[in-house]
C-alpha cells in the first residue's frame, strides 16, 4: 500500500471547497437523523422545520426501544455479527493460507470457483435457503441468519491476497526444516503474520453483517429481530411517528458509527487495499 506516496499535485482552494461541500452532503443525513430524533412529530410537520436538535431525544429513544423491541434487536445483531465475523475470519484465514502457500491438486479450479461465485448476488439463492431453514425449524431463530453467512468467498480471496504478499516462503520453509506439521506452521507462523489482514476483514465483515437487510427480514420476524428488521417494522407502522423512526435509525447506526470513528482510518486503508490497482 502506498497511502503516503507524494501526490503529483497540490490541492488548491477549489479542491478544498468541493471536498468540504461533499463532506457536508455526506454528513448531513446523520445530523438530520439527530435533529429529527430529538424533536416531536408535530415539530417535524411544522411549516418551518426545526434545523437544530431539540429536547426529546431520550423520550423518542425510549419509544423506539418499546415499539420495535430494539433492545432485543441490538443484542441479536451483536450476537449475529460477532458469530459471523469469527466464522468468516477463521475459515477465510485457513483457506486463504492454503490457496496462497500450499500446493495441492485442484487448487486452481477451487480458487477459480471461489472467485467466480463472488459475483453472484446472494439473493438468487434465497428461496431454497428459506425452504431449508423451514425444514430445519430454524425460522425466526438466530442460527438461520448466522449459518449461511459463516463463510465468505470474498474473505477467502482477501486473505489469500494478503498472505501471498505478507508471508515470506522462507518462514514456512524454516518451519518445515524444524519438522513442524502444516497445522503447527499455521498456528505459530501464519496466524501472527495474518493478524493485520484478519483485523481488516473482521471489521468489514462486522459492518456488512450488522447492516445486512434482505436475508434477515426473510428469515426473522419482528418478534425476534436484528436491528435492521426492527427498523423495517418501525418504519411500517400505520402512521409512523417520524421522530421515533429517526430515533430507531439513530440507534441502529450508532454502534457502527462508533466503530467507524475509532477505526475509520484502518477501514479506509482496508478498502483501498482490496481495490483493483491498474
Amino acid at each position: 500500500m502506498q497511502l503516503t506516496r507524494r501526490s503529483p499535485l497540490t490541492g488548491g482552494p477549489l479542491a478544498y471547497t468541493v471536498l468540504i461541500a461533499a463532506t457536508v452532503v455526506f454528513a448531513f443525513p446523520f445530523y438530520w437523523t439527530l435533529v429529527a430524533a430529538s424533536r416531536s412529530n408535530s415539530e417535524l410537520s411544522a411549516a418551518t422545520p426545526a434545523l437544530t436538535p431539540g429536547p426529546n431525544l431520550f423520550h423518542n429513544l425510549g419509544e423506539a426501544v418499546q415499539q420495535a423491541a430494539i433492545g432485543t434487536a441490538l443484542l441479536n445483531s451483536l450476537i449475529v455479527s460477532a458469530a459471523v465475523t469469527a466464522g468468516v475470519v477463521l475459515s477465510s484465514t485457513l483457506a486463504g493460507f492454503a490457496f496462497a502457500k500450499l500446493r495441492f491438486r485442484g487448487r486452481g479450479v477451487l480458487l477459480a470457483l471461489t472467485v467466480g461465485t463472488m459475483m453472484i448476488p446472494p439473493q438468487l439463492g434465497v428461496i431454497p435457503l428459506f425452504m431449508v431453514i423451514v425444514k430445519l425449524d430454524l425460522q425466526n431463530k438466530l442460527p438461520s441468519v448466522i449459518l449461511p453467512s459463516l463463510v465468505s468467498a470474498f474473505g477467502v480471496f482477501f486473505m489469500r491476497q494478503f498472505l501471498v504478499q505478507a508471508l515470506p516462503d522462507e518462514l514456512i520453509e524454516a518451519g518445515r526444516v524444524d519438522g513442524a506439521s502444516t497445522l503447527r506452521i499455521f498456528l505459530s507462523i501464519v496466524l501472527p503474520v495474518a493478524r493485520p489482514g484478519m483485523a481488516v476483514l473482521g471489521m468489514l465483515t462486522f459492518m456488512a453483517t450488522w447492516n445486512d437487510f434482505f436475508w434477515p427480514i426473510v428469515a426473522l420476524s419482528s418478534q425476534n429481530p436484528t436491528v435492521q428488521v426492527a427498523l423495517k417494522s418501525l418504519g411500517q407502522g400505520y402512521v409512523p411517528d417520524q421522530s421515533v423512526v429517526m430515533a430507531g435509525a439513530l440507534l441502529g447506526t450508532l454502534p457502527v458509527l462508533l466503530v467507524f470513528g475509532l477505526l475509520g482510518r484502518q477501514i479506509v486503508g482496508g478498502i483501498m487495499q482490496g481495490a483493483v490497482k491498474g
Binding site: 497511502l3 461533499a22 463532506t23 443525513p29 438530520w32 437523523t33 410537520s45 477463521l90 475459515s91 485457513l94 483457506a95 502457500k101 500450499l102 495441492f104 487448487r107 477451487l110 471461489t114 461465485t117 463472488m118 448476488p121 446472494p122 439473493q123 438468487l124 439463492g125 428461496i127 435457503l129 428459506f130 425452504m131 423451514v134 453467512s149 459463516l150 463463510v151 465468505s152 468467498a153 477467502v156 516462503d169 514456512i172 518445515r176 506439521s181 502444516t182 468489514l204 456488512a208 445486512d212 426473510v218 435492521q228 427498523l231 423495517k232 409512523p240 417520524q242 447506526t253 457502527v256 458509527l257 466503530v259 482510518r265 479506509v268 478498502i271 483501498m272 483493483v276 490497482k277 491498474g278
Partner: protein, 323 residues
C-alpha cells in the same frame, strides 16, 4: 448471505500478482502432509457448498414447480409455467424497466462523482485522512437506516427538500407518487451510500499510476485536464471496469431502498419504483408464491450474466482500439 449491495470490495483483480511457487517439499511428504491443504479449505467449502452453491442451483429446480410459502416442502411440477406467467405480468415488465432506469440514475452519476472526488483526494491536501474517512461515512450506515432518513427528507408535505425548494420559489415535488421523482429519490439513496466508497477504490487505483507519467505529460505541455484525460483515465481502466461491473450487479438486485422508501413491497402506488429484487420479494413473501419468486431469481441471474458479458465485451473492445 452478506449484504444485498455488493459486499465489501474487490473481486476480480486486474493483473494477478504472481503466486510465488511453494517451497518444494524435501523428500516425499508424509501422507498427512499431502492431505493437510484439503483440511484447511474444507471448512469453507463445506459451508459454501451447503449455503452458497446448493441454493443457487436448487433455485432453478424450484422455479419449475409450484411452491407456496405456507407449504414450503410441497412441490408440484409446473414446467416453464412460472416463467410464462411472469412474462404475462405487466408488473414484471414494469419492474424490469424500473430496475434499468433506477440502475442508470444511480450508477452513472455515482461513478462520475466518485471519479471527480478521487481526483481531488489524490491531491496533496491538508486533512487528507479526514476527507477520506468522511467520504466513507455513508458506507457505515445500513440500507434500512439510510432509506428511512431519506424518505423523511423527501417527504411531500413536511420534507426538508421540498421546504428548501419552496423557499427558493420552486414548486415542491411529490417525491413518492411521481414516477421520475420517486426513482430519483431512490437513486439518491444509493448514490449517497456508495459514491465515497467508489471514490476510495478509484483513489487506490490512481495511486498505483507512476508519478513519472504525470511528469513527462507535464513536460509535453499537458494541462491538468489533459493529464486527467490521457494519464489518469487510461491508468484506471481496470478499476473502472471493476466498479462498473460491481455497481451494475448491485443495481440489478436493488431491494432495501425501494422497499423502505414508502414501506410497501409494491414499490409505490402504481409500482412506479418497484425493482426486480422487490418484485421477487413481493411474489415470494407477500403473495406466497415461492416457485414464481424462484423464476424471478433466475431471470435476474441471466440478466446479470448478460450484463457481465456485455461489460467484458466493451472492455475488451476498448482495449483493442487503444493499441
Amino acid at each position: 448471505m452478506a449484504t444485498t449491495t455488493p459486499p465489501a470490495l474487490s473481486a476480480g483483480r486486474g493483473p494477478e500478482p504472481p503466486v510465488p511457487a511453494a517451497p518444494a517439499a524435501k523428500g516425499r511428504p508424509r501422507r498427512s502432509g499431502r492431505l493437510a491443504p484439503y483440511g484447511f479449505v474444507a471448512p469453507f467449502f463445506v459451508l459454501f457448498a451447503a449455503f452458497g452453491l446448493f441454493p443457487l442451483l436448487y433455485t432453478a429446480y424450484v422455479s419449475l414447480h409450484r411452491v407456496e410459502l405456507q407449504t414450503a416442502d410441497r412441490m408440484d411440477w409446473l414446467g416453464l409455467q412460472n416463467y410464462t406467467r411472469l412474462l404475462d405480468d405487466p408488473f414484471f415488465w414494469k419492474a424490469l424497466g424500473n430496475t434499468f432506469t433506477i440502475g442508470v440514475l444511480s450508477t452513472v452519476p455515482q461513478l462520475l462523482m466518485a471519479l471527480g472526488l478521487a481526483h481531488l483526494l489524490n491531491y496533496r491536501l491538508r486533512g487528507r485522512t479526514f476527507f477520506r474517512v468522511a467520504m466513507l461515512l455513508p458506507y457505515a450506515t445500513s440500507v434500512a437506516a439510510a432509506t428511512l432518513v431519506f424518505a423523511q427528507l423527501f417527504g411531500r408535505d413536511y420534507g426538508l427538500i421540498n421546504w428548501v425548494l419552496s423557499s427558493v420559489g420552486l414548486h415542491p415535488v411529490d417525491w413518492q407518487a411521481e414516477t421520475w421523482a420517486s426513482q430519483v429519490g431512490v437513486s439518491t439513496i444509493v448514490t449517497w451510500r456508495w459514491t465515497g466508497y467508489n471514490a476510495l477504490i478509484y483513489l487506490a487505483g490512481m495511486q498505483a499510476i507512476p508519478g513519472e507519467l504525470y511528469e513527462s505529460a507535464a513536460m509535453d505541455g499537458a494541462n491538468r485536464w489533459q493529464q486527467f484525460r490521457h494519464v489518469t483515465i487510461p491508468g484506471l481502466r481496470p478499476t473502472i471496469v471493476f466498479t462498473v461491473v460491481v455497481s451494475t450487479i448491485g443495481a440489478t438486485q436493488l431491494f432495501g431502498e425501494p422497499l423502505l422508501y414508502e414501506g410497501s413491497s409494491r414499490g409505490g402506488i402504481s409500482h412506479q419504483y418497484q425493482t426486480l429484487g422487490l418484485y421477487l420479494y413481493e411474489q415470494g413473501w407477500s403473495f406466497f408464491h415461492l416457485g414464481r419468486a424462484a423464476a424471478v431469481a433466475w431471470v435476474m441471474f441471466l440478466l446479470i450474466v448478460v450484463l457481465a458479458l456485455l461489460n467484458a465485451a466493451i472492455a475488451a473492445r476498448r482495449n483493442r482500439t487503444d493499441r
